[in-house]
Amino acid sequence: MLQTRALGKLVVVQVKLYLREPIAVFFTLLMPVMLLVMMGFILGNEPVSELGGRGHLDVNLSGYAALVIGILGIAGVPIETATRRETGVLRRFRATPLRPLTYIASDVLGNFAMMVLGVTVVFLLGRFGYGVRFHGSLPTLALGVFLSAAAFLSVAYVLASIIPTSRAAMVVGNVLLYPMLVLSGAVVPQQVMPETVRNVARFVPLTYVVTLFGGLWSGHGLSEHLREILVLGGVLIVGVALAAWLFRWE
């Protein structure tokens, strides 16, 4: 049973709390934007022969957008949830008729909104600030963003359910996050990676987000990305099932 009155209020409060946390906002919303600005400054977006006549930002923009989803999903949400469990904030909620499902739904919706906002900022800045040409369709790209965000939030809640303390969440977050950022092609384009690295990258979920965003941005339809959709959809379903089973207030 979802408590709609409680849910609506809680989503608003979750988003406000998130936006009041300067460090969280910096690492999730601002870092990908800063990366885009820095790369735009250093490399520009002139056509380059190694990238098949495309510019650096043409190739990397979808990676920076995927970063937002990766950072919040792997580090942001698990660290915040573990902190709340550790300090007793979740216990405060447990003392009320609030149901765990309502709490999780509010946190997921709030973070979903933040992910969509972050991705939108990166894409808008790339398109209008650096003239990265958009060849795709907006609704299709939006669907891809929604699916990726949902899949990573389910991963976030699996991590949040099994990691006991905020310190452990920070360690796990960093251990998973940095290799993921590099391997997935979110920071360095996959095209310039050796074959062996690309083989390893196939096991990194964020790779599929980067590929999906890149494809949809450059004009592919969803039917050309069935593999990415299946992988991310699978992650979403397994993640939701695991999180529902594992989540504890305390």
Binding site: Q3, R5, A6, G8, K9, L10, V13, K16, L17, R20, E21, R84, T87, G88, V89, R91, R92, F93, R94, A95, T96, P97, L98, R99
Partner: protein
Amino acid sequence: MGEKVVEVDGLVKRYGDLTAIDDISFDIRAGEIFGMVGPNGAGKTTTVECIEGLRRPDQGTVRVLGMRPGVDHYALAERIGIQFQVDALPPRIKVGETLDLFAHFYSNPLEWQKLLEQLGLSAKKHSPFATLSGGQKQRLFIALALVNDPDLLFMDEPTTGLDPQSRRAMWGMVEDIRARGKTVFLTTHSMEEAERLCDRVAIMDHGRIMALDTPDNLIAALKAETRVVFAVEGRMDTEVLSDIPGVTRVEQRNGRVVVHGSGSGFLGRVISALESSKVSFGQLRTEEPGLEDVFLALTGREMRD
């Protein structure tokens, strides 16, 4: 006495080899302030948490407002208020925002603005939780525990860590809550607090209830002596005092006389004996036995904070 709001029968809770609660039974009646006192580690918090349904007892039955804690969790949560010993909120959440949020969790919440006013927090409505003082945080948690207008309020060590002024303010608040017809279950390790606030007190040690009664009855059952202490100039002849019925012992040292004794009218007889013997005395006070002495008599140990 009112109906039974809480019924605990044969409650046992173990953590591995440690028996935190060792077969306790008691009832809490509607409208009373029921206190559970004892040193840290006596099992008070575990007992409260079993009654709230946050911990599952190993043995025994618990009924709260006719419901089963833990099993009827959501229905019960609508009608009880809980204040934890260690309580937390996100540091950047604002006071008014918090109450508005928690009011949305219940079907019939109170008007939270009024509640803030009653608890003296209106001026802090826009302050983030992290900027509140200890006493203000404690009042906010009380407001959260009251926002559903509960029939039964749990307060686990509400004054621990508060300065004396906030502590007295908190006592006034607990009395106000009772005056509104609510039942309060309070734990404390302060005997003074239990004596001052509670209608009935359960004294707990090593997971057992050593005694349960009104503070007056507990103290009376001790048959402990009252001491009458006063100052005299020079030395007085104490024979006039030791002949009074009920007096057991008289000490005189450095201009101070201590009369030990008990029984009704003991104090009056001491004073009239002093008056009639024309002794000039001053700074007279009595020292009554308290729950502190009850604990000492029951356990052979001093209660330590």
